[in-house]
């Protein structure tokens, strides 16, 4: 895919497997996240660009929506109750915001102590957030695009095989200027990445008339 075939594409980048990324989206811009090879979880955090203490809140987002999964039309709500962004396209249909990100420390609890020494999303987030003056304190429960985590009526909570096919995408349209931070999830111990992390692509488009 090249810039010339999509006239309003203002930015595109292929995020290698296991790597972080961040960029400020201007109000009205749309970030397209493409699961290039399929079954790849994309962990994401959003912050208000003008006040980084205002950030994405999973609990406020779910409360306002009244349901447990991120899908087309979901408004991503901040800890101040404002709409940071909106899901404006989705060819996958299932995204999570309750499972958080993997960390060396939680991997050690879940999968045994040797997995403490495997790369994890929180390592990515800490490094990427440090570019913006933020620290581990600022990592809240994140979005997990393309991650399939059904919760049943008894509360059973299971990371199961992703349903995203190669090329599936989700569009997130900024409702204010937002710092968008991604960790292309390195987890190899559960099915969120098909046990084999792969690259993803991000594309930014201006709103019509911008």
């Amino acid at each position: 895919m090249t810039d010339s075939v999509i006239p309003d594409l203002t930015y595109a980048f292929d995020i290698p497997s296991e790597r972080p990324w961040s960029r400020v989206l201007k109000k009205g811009q749309t970030l397209r996240i493409i699961d290039s090879e399929g079954q790849q979880a994309v962990d994401a955090l959003l912050y208000c660009a003008d006040d980084l203490a205002e950030r994405y809140s999973s609990q406020d987002t779910l409360r306002v929506q009244g349901s447990a999964y991120i899908e087309l039309g979901t408004r991503l709500i901040s800890n101040k109750g404002r709409v940071l962004a909106r899901i404006t396209a989705d060819s996958c249909g299932r995204h999570d915001t309750s499972a958080g990100c993997c960390s060396c420390e939680s991997n050690a609890v879940r999968f045994g102590e040797p997995t403490k020494y495997q790369h994890a999303c929180r390592e990515n987030f800490i490094l990427e957030l440090s570019k913006h003056g933020l620290t581990k304190r600022d990592i809240v429960s994140n979005l997990n695009f393309f991650m399939n985590v059904p919760i049943d009526a008894n509360g059973n909570f299971t990371v199961v095989d992703g349903i995203s096919a190669p090329g599936n995408h989700v569009d997130v349209t900024a409702e204010m200027d937002v710092l968008f931070v991604i960790s292309n999830c390195p987890q190899v111990n559960n099915p969120c990445n098909g046990f084999n992390p792969t690259p993803i692509r991000v594309e930014i488009r201006d709103a019509p008339g911008m």
């Binding site: 296991e18 409360r63 109750g81 958080g100 939680s106 609890v109 045994g112 600022d138 009526a153 059973n156």
Partner: protein
């Protein structure tokens, strides 16, 4: 680094074994809910007792080896809780890890509440209710206004006020756990409120496995269909015995055992 087919197969096999243990074996070993009249606190074990009125919050220190009993006196309250490790408040309770490590969004007697550092913050050593919320969180100015038509006290502002008084700030407010908040999911993923799972006198005992600063907010849960519901809650800080090797919460699952072992290392 690309995984080989053998690595993928081995990791998938381990994951399936952990899932079966976490969702089939572990739940069978969990105890029944505590009966309301059971588990009285010996009078000489009580360190501190306070009543928090509806709409208000309190902050307390809970040291390893102490427990906090939270009692829903009227059956009308929900209590939203945050906690940080006293010596390093960048370590705090983590709802997402608590859920995924235990393979369940439902916590009850025998479960633990994890910090973001793979350690146990609290053990749920008694629980008469078993219906608590880790997904939806507390009330906010907007949720109260929408539910009642007027502005009112809410958990978001209680948390802000509370953290400001202990040298922390809005960046330290993580997703919270709300006790006595019977939120369930239907097949479509929509949240439902199960009023029948609330009773006057329901209580939990949270044993601190590390030294913790705790904030508790007594506000009507945003999904409670009776937005004016509310009543006093009683908090009782009391001494308990430490988690032995065969402790219910420590031995509940291999994951819990590892998290306890990592926590113990803070104190050796």
């Amino acid at each position: 680094m690309a995984q080989t087919q053998a690595q993928i197969a081995a990791n998938r096999r381990r994951y399936e074994e952990l899932r079966a243990a976490g969702q089939e074996l572990t739940p069978r070993g969990l105890p029944e809910a505590t009966a309301l009249e059971r588990a009285p606190i010996p009078p000489d074990a009580v360190i501190h007792r306070e009543t928090v009125p509806s709409g208000w919050y309190t902050t307390l220190l809970l040291r390893r080896g102490e427990a906090l009993r939270i009692v829903d006196d009227t059956g009308q309250s929900s209590v939203s809780l945050l906690a940080w490790r006293e010596e390093d408040p960048s370590e705090r309770i983590n709802c997402a890890d608590t859920i995924k490590v235990q393979w369940s969004a439902a916590i009850s007697k025998g479960r633990v509440i994890l910090s973001d550092m793979g350690r146990v913050a609290f053990s749920l050593i008694e629980d008469s209710c078993g219906a608590h919320d880790l997904l939806v969180g507390g009330s906010t100015p907007a949720s109260v206004l929408a539910a009642t038509g007027v502005s009112g006290r809410n958990t978001q502002e209680n948390f802000l006020a509370a953290v400001s008084k202990i040298g922390l700030g809005v960046r330290d407010i993580s997703p919270c756990i709300t006790f006595f908040a019977p939120v369930a999911l239907d097949d479509a993923g929509r949240f439902r409120w199960q009023q029948g799972r609330k009773r006057a006198g329901d209580f939990v005992d949270l044993r601190a496995e590390m030294n913790l600063i705790v904030v508790a907010s007594n506000c009507t849960h945003p999904l409670n269909p009776q937005p004016s519901a509310g009543g006093n809650v009683t908090l009782i800080k009391h001494r308990v015995s430490a988690a032995a090797r065969e402790d219910l919460c420590r031995a509940a699952s291999p994951e819990a055992t590892r998290a306890f072992a990592f926590t113990d290392r803070l104190y050796v």
